[in-house]
Symmetry: C2
Subunit: 282 residues, 2 copies
């Protein structure tokens, strides 16, 4: 394997590596916060890499962006105000704004350069950036949530990098308490929660931190994500109210296109594998 022809992400703790064949490196820069690289791949379109970790490709980002947004949006009874913490590639924002009920969607990513590069190399993810309901802030999401007034938001989507580096504070009990305090009564937070095959301990700690912050109901959902370690990713929804139910009819009649998500996939994603049930006493 000629290293000049491949981008490889090694995951030392997992003992795995995933590679994409590249045509060329399109860009690299050290932002104030992270090392950012853009590649043109042979088969996955463009690829964004942050601090050596694959973040998003043209070809397969739909899994992640759809599953980080539509399941929680169709579980909340009436989502109007959404914050996206992280998510600088704007793919989650685009999916959120497909929902007619949304009145305000604020994306808060600490690193403006991620969004500026996404506008150039992933323009299809940025299609909704000029929607009048959208607002893009380039500030510290942890502080934003900490300073927010009660009942400021219905859903917080934590679309972060791994829990090392700038995103570490997004996996803490203090952060979840701050989320709890600024969410509306039936509010929810959803966060990417890594791979249940490779990071089960982390997933458990995250669930514990969410519970200890006061969230009464947790649901972990599972979906494929080729680019991420093990190819099998998860997100965890923490709800203030235990009464959250899937709005199945609305999902069945969704007035927008998706590539992966639909009402059947929604229900399927919440099925808990046997080893996950055992690990978390479900």
């Amino acid at each position: 394997m000629n290293p000049s022809e491949w981008f490889t992400e090694q995951v030392p703790a997992a003992g795995t590596a995933f590679s994409l064949k590249i045509k060329q490196k399109l860009h690299e820069e050290q932002s104030e916060f992270q090392f950012l690289e853009i590649y043109e791949t042979e088969t996955f379109g463009n690829l964004m890499v942050i601090d050596g970790c694959t973040m998003v490709s043209t070809r397969d980002n739909f899994f992640y962006h759809e599953m980080m947004t539509h399941p929680v949006l169709y579980t909340h009874p009436n989502p109007k105000r959404v914050w996206i913490i992280g998510g600088g590639d704007c793919g989650a924002l685009k999916e959120v704004l497909k929902h007619d009920s949304i009145e305000q969607a604020i994306q808060i990513d600490i690193d403006e350069r991620v969004t500026r590069l996404s506008e150039i190399y992933f323009p299809e993810l940025c299609e909704a950036n000029n929607d009048p309901r959208a607002e893009l802030k380039f500030i510290d999401g942890i502080k934003w949530v900490k300073d927010a007034a009660p009942n400021s938001v219905d859903i917080i989507i934590v679309d972060s990098t791994d829990p090392i580096g700038p995103a570490e504070g997004l996996f803490s009990a203090q952060f979840y308490r701050d989320c709890f305090n600024c969410l509306s009564e039936d509010g929810m937070v959803v966060q990417q929660s890594e791979s249940a095959l490779l990071h089960l301990k982390l997933l458990g700690e995250m669930r514990d931190a969410m519970s200890s912050a006061g969230f009464s109901h947790l649901q972990t959902l599972f979906f494929p994500q080729c680019l991420y370690p093990s190819g099998w990713w998860s997100a965890t929804i923490a709800s203030k109210s235990a009464l959250a139910n899937f709005r199945e009819q609305d999902a069945n009649n969704k007035p927008f296109e998706t590539v992966f998500y639909n009402a059947d996939i929604h229900k399927a994603a919440f099925a808990q594998p046997e080893f996950v049930k055992k690990a978390f006493g479900l």
Copy 2:
């Protein structure tokens, strides 16, 4: 990445590669049919590689073996006779024999060396090889099915390598016709059907070939499989009778342990992603 420390499977057509960190190579040989390698990995236990493709690891084979067996076994109304074509590592055989209804399970792999190596390096997969209901044959599975009498078998599990090399004939309409002819009236064949992300065309051709062979009902199911390209794999069940229904109560009361599979996972696996529905007119 030091090549001596990693085993890497490149998938040229997909532009992807997946690597596992290795401690040492335990064995290699050219059998009559294939080049076989066994590695000890850092984090995935032992790894079997056939003709350069990862086949099975100690750590994550449960996904594949459970999902190739229990969904079809709990869909068939009363499975008694099962053939496994390929499957020389014996992992599928072990799962099949967990079902009390099974009276006979015949594994037909052309390459005896796969089984002999599995007995040494994956003994846990071979635990059921001495079950009185089990029979291991090392002959050509294609010819075995072609020569079989009508109503010889209830379920045929095609646990094969990719559709190149010795397994190519296992993806042909002629093979499916031969399966159809030797299956009982409510018989089913299930076959691994690659990745819907990377091999959608192949999956479609396989479904078409199964239909043209006379199978009235097709169901593709999806599951994670870290070691296989894209980390997201599929299997397709073709039924002679359209009346096949999930025996949910039996699955809920299954008298054996699994790591991944349960009744919820069963139902979830059959959810069809939006792009798959569109591709196959579902």
